[in-house]
């Protein structure tokens, strides 16, 4: 069994299927793409070089999939507490574009007591302002 250090924020008994975590919203800007490139080491020019992106036939640079996953990860840890995520996986379904407002949606789908502890299972996704899903997946987080 692995160690959990920081405080667990969710109470197993209080969490029910269908419960939703607080939404995190963020308007994606080109500066976000540059910051993520620098902080992650992913310098694919399709994310940072407008000239190269347009030469490749794209309307503009587009966001790193891992930025989307990181933003959604922030919403998960805001809700469950840092250090309490046991598993987090997504599919990347659509590209993100500068100017879009990205919002998280985290909905409890199950809960179970396992060897790892009391686990809350949530369907997690990130969508834009017209409901287009950018990434979707599942997170398993610890409750007390």
């Amino acid at each position: 069994m692995s160690k959990t250090i920081s405080a667990i924020k969710l109470n197993y008994g209080d969490i029910n299927k269908g419960d939703e975590a607080p939404v995190v919203s963020h308007e994606l800007g080109r500066t976000d793409l540059v910051k993520y490139a620098g902080a992650s080491g992913d310098f694919n020019p399709m994310h940072t070089d407008e000239v190269a992106a347009q030469a490749a036939g794209l309307p503009s640079v587009f966001g790193h999939g891992m930025f989307s996953m990181g933003l959604l990860g922030r919403a998960i840890t805001d809700w469950a507490g840092v250090g309490n995520v046991k598993r987090y996986g997504v599919r990347f379904t659509k590209q993100t574009w500068p100017g879009e407002t990205l919002s998280t949606k985290i909905v409890v789908s199950d809960k179970e007591v396992t060897e790892e502890g009391k686990i809350i299972v949530a369907e997690v996704l990130l969508h834009n302002e017209v409901g287009e899903i950018k990434v979707s997946g599942t997170a398993r987080v610890l409750a007390a």
Binding site: S2, K3, T4, I5, S6, A7, V24, H26, D32, K35, Y36, G38, A39, S40, G41, D42, G65, M66, F67, M69, G70, L71, G73, R74, I76, T77, D78, V82, G83, V85, K86, R87, Y88, G89, V90, R91, F92, G137
Partner: protein
């Protein structure tokens, strides 16, 4: 190309230091201003030895705090990540490379000050037809262990080539 022959091949290995500046900058880049990632006193107050890392940090960590003199022998024998050999082979006839899926399994917390060792391998390759195009999926698993030799994070990376 015999795709099955690539299953089990190592993709790489490395040793990386989990450094505060890099972690704080990464957290800021994913819009996360949680004090635990930025403020040592907040992290210690929560029971961590150093600031912890955001959930997707290890994916970026292989490019951070990577000192040349500490790197292990290249498990590919200098031929590079076999995933790229497969992709480059497929790209000869065009197409598009997509990051299809990404999963993290967390075994123990990672904190600034840790020194992680990672090893990756290809665990699956398969192709299927979709809308008249061949989709080739390459699945890589990377295990990160800490300085005590204990696994801390397992990453599962699914890269897709969509044929032209």
């Amino acid at each position: 190309m015999d795709l099955n022959s690539y299953i089990g091949k190592p993709t790489g290995a490395g040793t990386v230091h989990v450094e505060r500046g890099a972690v704080s900058r990464f957290a800021a880049a994913v819009t996360d201003d949680n004090a635990l990632y930025h403020d040592l006193n907040a992290a210690k107050g929560a029971g961590f030895n150093g600031p912890p890392v955001p959930p997707t940090w290890t994916f970026a960590s292989v490019f951070q705090g990577r000192y040349p003199e500490e790197q292990p022998e290249d498990p590919t024998g200098g031929t590079g990540n076999p995933m790229m050999q497969v992709i480059n082979g497929l790209m000869k006839t065009g197409g598009l490379v997509l990051h299809g899926e990404q999963e993290f399994r967390y075994h123990q917390s990672v904190q600034c000050g840790d020194v992680l060792h990672w090893e990756g391998k290809i665990t699956d390759i398969y192709a299927k037809e979709s809308k008249g195009k061949t989709m080739t999926f390459i699945v890589t698993q990377t295990v990160f262990s800490n300085q005590a030799g204990e696994p801390v994070v397992t990453e599962i990376f699914n890269l897709i080539h969509r044929g032209a």
